[in-house]
């Protein structure tokens, strides 16, 4: 089985936000929820870089460790998913997440945040693959259809890569050796405890 990962090549990202739009459209994500976002560092200054970030589907995921009701599970493809039927909306996964991935439909009035929502690596949730319930709760299940996440598929500069960790790491390495520079795989050290040697 593959070990699914995201990799954003910051030297290619042009902050077009197409990944964000693709994600919102594909999963019909409600207003105010951003499963994916583009963060720009040093905005307007020399050395500016943009990085598209969503759930990194961590190894030994912190969200799963701190969840008081144990709603998270890791699929055979190493995708971290959760059950909205069991989520109590306590918000602890957001405190533990190094990437700010968990999202809540309501803004904490008296702690009622609603069911947590996050990037599913386009792999749905615990409901039956491709079912109406699954789509309403978690969005499309592209992985079950043999497709990769839409954000990466639609990336105009192919900055955002999604797929088996070894394969995308190889693609990135080849790019770096060909063009002679690379600012690294952002978030990998934190998420997977390993980086790509370039």
């Amino acid at each position: 089985m593959a070990r699914m990962k995201f990799l954003c090549d910051a030297d290619r990202c042009i902050e077009c936000n197409a990944c964000v739009t693709a994600c919102k459209n594909e999963h019909e994500v409600p207003w105010g929820i951003n499963r994916r976002r583009v963060v720009t560092l040093n905005d307007g200054k020399p050395g500016e870089r943009s990085i598209s970030m969503a759930c990194m589907h961590c190894t030994d995921a912190p969200c799963a460790a701190v969840c008081p009701v144990n709603v998270f599970y890791t699929t055979a493809d190493a995708v971290v998913l959760h059950s909205k039927d069991l989520c109590i909306g306590c918000g602890y996964c957001f405190y533990a997440c190094p990437f700010g991935a968990p999202q809540y439909p309501k803004v904490g009035n008296f702690g009622s945040r609603g069911k947590m929502d996050k990037c599913t690596f386009c792999a749905g949730g615990p409901d039956a693959d491709g079912s109406k319930e699954e789509f309403e709760k978690y969005g499309a299940n592209r992985l079950a259809e043999g497709k990769l996440p839409l954000c990466a598929e639609m990336c105009s500069t192919k900055s955002l890569l999604a797929g088996d960790g070894d394969v995308i790491a190889q693609i990135y390495k080849e790019r770096v050796s060909k063009r002679g520079y690379g600012s690294g795989a952002w978030g990998w050290q934190t998420a997977y405890r390993e980086s790509i040697a370039t």
Partner: protein
């Protein structure tokens, strides 16, 4: 001739153009090998080492989403899943063990001179109402709070995921909304009892004698007004712990309100959880002394009355005050034990 001049001019122009192109061409040709676009670019490891987190700018209104990487979540996770469980387990189970051992060694504190059959009003209706408002909300807050930390390990395996989630969701709502009742109770208690809980000279003697708690013959009694030194300490610890719980609790209930960062939220949770488990352990001791630990004490918070002899033994100065104020009116007869 004129044609030749025109040709010459054209050739000279072409040469001049060629010259300009020739001197400028090497500059543009060198660019890819001379300029490294990542040389002055931000670097992840450097940012993480310097700032412990990486923050940038986003185009969406959600300000907290501008944090790109925040590895401190891992330290908070370590606290929540390991450290907190040890602190909570040791303090709460430790307190229960101490209380059981103390009971086995000491037994309940008796009224040495026996019941007089004369009642004296210790807590009026308002005092009892405020006490029980605080007490009932505290117990529910304590149980539902411990559920968040220990429920997954203790209850989930035998309740099953669906039942445990349903219970935990209700527990969360109870925890959030009953906090207002608790806050009100503590505020009223503070206003109502602060006058009686300021330290006085007799407290020193009480503390020296350990309140007579360790005298198995029940004959050591330090003089005390309505509240003895132990109760005063309890009062102030409750006031400050509650203030800590209320402030950190409201921060957690209104997450990210007015610029609170994820780091602030983690700190609030750590504070809330540590003070919370210690608070629960403390109140277990209070419940012990108010029920099985001391004979004749529970009536004070039940119908408000205590026996006159109990009052004379445990709160001699207060009993004297009440007798002088002519507040002891015989009361309902109680069978002597």
């Amino acid at each position: 001739m004129a044609k030749l001049v025109a040709h010459m001019r054209l050739i000279a122009g072409a040469l001049a153009l060629a010259f300009i192109v020739a001197i400028s061409a090497p500059v543009s040709a060198q660019q890819p090998s001379m300029v490294n676009p990542t040389a002055d670019a931000v670097k992840e490891q450097q940012l993480l080492q310097q700032l412990k987190m990486i923050q940038g700018r986003v185009t969406i209104p959600d300000e907290k989403s501008s944090v790109l990487v925040h590895p401190a979540g891992r330290e908070w996770r370590q606290f929540h899943t390991v450290t907190l469980k040890w602190i909570g387990g040791i303090s709460i189970i430790g307190m229960l063990v101490v209380l059981v051992l103390f009971y086995l060694w000491r037994g309940p504190m008796r009224v040495k001179s026996g019941y007089s059959g004369i009642n004296i009003l210790r807590f009026d209706v308002l005092e009892r109402f405020v006490h029980w408002l605080t007490a009932v909300t505290f117990v529910i807050l304590g149980i539902t709070g411990l559920n968040i930390t220990f429920g997954r390990a203790v209850l989930l395996p035998w309740m099953g995921p669906e039942a445990f989630s349903a219970w935990s969701e209700w527990a969360k709502y109870a925890h959030n909304f009953l906090s207002f009742g608790f806050t009100l109770g503590v505020l009223l208690m503070f206003v109502m009892w602060i006058g009686r809980n300021l330290p006085t000279a007799v407290d020193v003697q009480w503390l020296k004698q350990g309140g007579g708690m360790f005298d198995k013959t029940d004959s050591t009694h330090a003089p005390a007004y309505k509240f003895n030194a132990g109760q005063k300490i309890l009062f102030w610890v409750i006031v400050f712990s509650s203030a800590a719980m209320i402030i950190s609790g409201f921060m957690l209930m209104f997450p990210f309100y007015s610029g609170l960062t994820v780091g602030n939220m983690e700190l609030a949770e750590i504070f809330h959880a540590v003070v919370g488990v210690l608070f629960v352990a403390l109140i277990l001791g209070h419940i012990y002394l108010g029920t099985v630990g001391m004979e004749g004490a529970f009536g004070a918070m039940a119908d408000g009355n205590v026996d006159l002899n109990w009052a004379k033994e445990h709160h001699s100065l207060w009993a004297k005050e009440e007798i002088q104020a002519d507040k002891v009116k015989g009361g309902a007869m109680r069978p002597a034990e």
